[in-house]
């Protein structure tokens, strides 16, 4: 795993009453380049220990003097977004992991159809900058709650004109996906229900899965606390209610490879050997879940879980 980067919050503004944009500038030298759709993990010092949340980079990938992220305040969460909204001030320094990309645009697509819901607009801000520079054909379908989750709407209206399709309620996805030229690709970022709906309509209309891309907006959710038994080292750990299993392992000094911290990339796959598991990932098949778990999101469902670590 690459070393963390130290960045300074050089600007902050509220985009909507619940979305705060932070500009992160390098403290020493330049920041690594990134591709559209990339995210960074922001390391957050919370009471439960270190928490890392993944946020898409919304800035133009052509400019790496700074990164920008947009954070939606989540009430029912573990406090990461609250910290970035309420605690962090301009001038503060933050630790972030270097950019990684699990949601890159398809290089040879003829037409890019972007579908965003709410804070799901964030990866597409970088997409749009890159696609405009490439003079690629694209359109944005943006679903939001007016005045609440409509970040960047004014900017997008001016910038995209008729290429922006704005919706205050779920659009007719079948219509969006029908009769598209060969080589079209669709990208969706938003809640799982929207992703599922797009996939359903795409499948119905004969879209190849290779043309359908998505990124779910979910990180680790809290749950019941449970104990952890590491069979190889003999260690016994506690996973608190607000802590993910991965964070508990990291807190104990274990290095587990990870990228997305949202149960999609597969990096943190770990073999489990006892105890009831609540699987919350979108990576493993049910058959694989019998043997493995993704500690970034999945949790124990009983008093104790044993892991092959």
């Amino acid at each position: 795993m690459s070393a963390a980067l130290t960045v300074q919050v050089s600007a902050a503004r509220m985009l909507t009453p619940v979305v705060r944009e932070l500009t992160l500038s390098a403290c020493d030298g330049a920041l690594p380049g990134f591709s559209p759709g990339s995210h960074v993990q922001v390391h957050l010092p919370l009471a439960e220990g270190k928490v890392r949340n993944a946020y898409s980079l919304t800035s133009d990938p052509a400019h790496t003097q700074h990164y920008r992220i947009a954070v939606r305040l989540q009430d029912a969460s573990r406090g990461g977004s609250r910290y970035l909204h309420r605690q962090v001030q301009v001038g503060d320094t933050l630790q972030i992991s270097p950019p990684a990309n699990l949601f890159a645009p398809h290089g040879t697509a003829r037409l890019h159809i972007l579908i965003a819901a709410g804070i799901g607009i964030t990866p597409f801000m970088a997409y749009i900058a890159a696609l405009e520079q490439q003079q690629a054909a694209f359109e944005l379908h943006y679903l939001f709650r007016p005045g609440l989750s409509d970040a960047y709407l004014d900017e997008l209206q001016q910038r995209l004109g008729p290429r922006l399709h704005a919706y205050a309620s779920r659009p007719d996805l079948g219509r969006i996906l029908a009769d598209r030229p060969l080589g079209s690709h669709v990208y969706t970022c938003g809640p799982q229900a929207l992703l599922d709906a797009v996939e359903h309509h795409a499948t119905r209309l004969g879209w190849s899965p290779r043309h359908v891309h998505s990124e779910a907006f979910k990180g680790a959710q809290p749950g019941q606390p449970f104990d952890l038994h590491l069979l190889r080292s003999g260690q016994r750990l506690r996973v608190e209610a607000e802590q993910s299993l991965l964070e508990a392992l990291e807190h104990a000094g274990l290095q587990v490879p990870n990228l997305c911290r949202g149960g999609v990339c597969g990096q943190c796959i770990t073999r489990h050997q006892g105890g009831a598991i609540e699987h919350r990932d979108s990576f493993l098949s049910p058959a694989e879940q019998a043997e493995f778990l993704m500690p970034c999101v999945s949790r124990g469902n009983g008093p104790c879980v044993s892991l092959d670590l």
């Binding site: 003829r110 079948g174 219509r175 996906l177 029908a178 009769d179 598209r180 030229p181 060969l182 080589g183 079209s184 209309l205 004969g206 879209w207 190849s208 899965p209 290779r210 043309h211």
Partner: protein
């Protein structure tokens, strides 16, 4: 509006009897390589096709892979193209020395029509080029078999 599924496109090298897989398709658009304006028809069919369209190719390897490349350039993915190489006929060979892709018979050796180097046709196959790799069979006498 009820979106309609895109019609499947069937491209045959020559007008032969339809195999069962084609007969089961719903209103396929049939094209065959014998038609005088085949190239234009194919281009038009691909340009007006929409996402969800499936392409079925029937012919020898050289023909099927040539159309495959055209379809990929038009935006179809591998998994949207079904190929049935029915007739034993020509295949494409890529010369590693001059870069020319040429149609060739089933023989294991040939002279490149571009640079005249004697080639051995390897089993290495490029899906992108739709061709087998041809490599100089005798580096000591690369033009040994060439008779102008």
């Amino acid at each position: 509006m009820t979106p309609t599924l895109s019609r499947p496109i069937v491209v045959m090298q020559s007008a032969t009897a339809c195999p069962p897989v084609i007969a089961e398709l719903d209103q396929p658009l049939l094209l065959n390589g014998d038609q005088p304006d085949f190239a234009r028809r194919l281009q038009q069919a691909l340009a007006s096709a929409t996402v969800g369209c499936r392409l079925y190719l029937l012919g020898d390897e050289a023909f099927a892979w040539r159309i495959h490349a055209e379809a990929r350039a038009a935006g179809l993915e591998d998994d949207e193209i079904s190929m049935t190489c029915t007739t034993s006929g020509l295949r494409q060979v890529y010369c590693a020395h001059c870069g020319l892709t040429q149609a060739a018979g089933p023989h294991a050796v040939l002279n490149c029509i571009g640079c005249h180097v004697g080639l051995e046709v390897r089993t290495h196959f490029s899906r992108r080029l739709g061709a087998y790799l041809g490599v100089c069979i005798n580096p000591d006498q690369p033009y040994a078999g060439f008779q102008p």
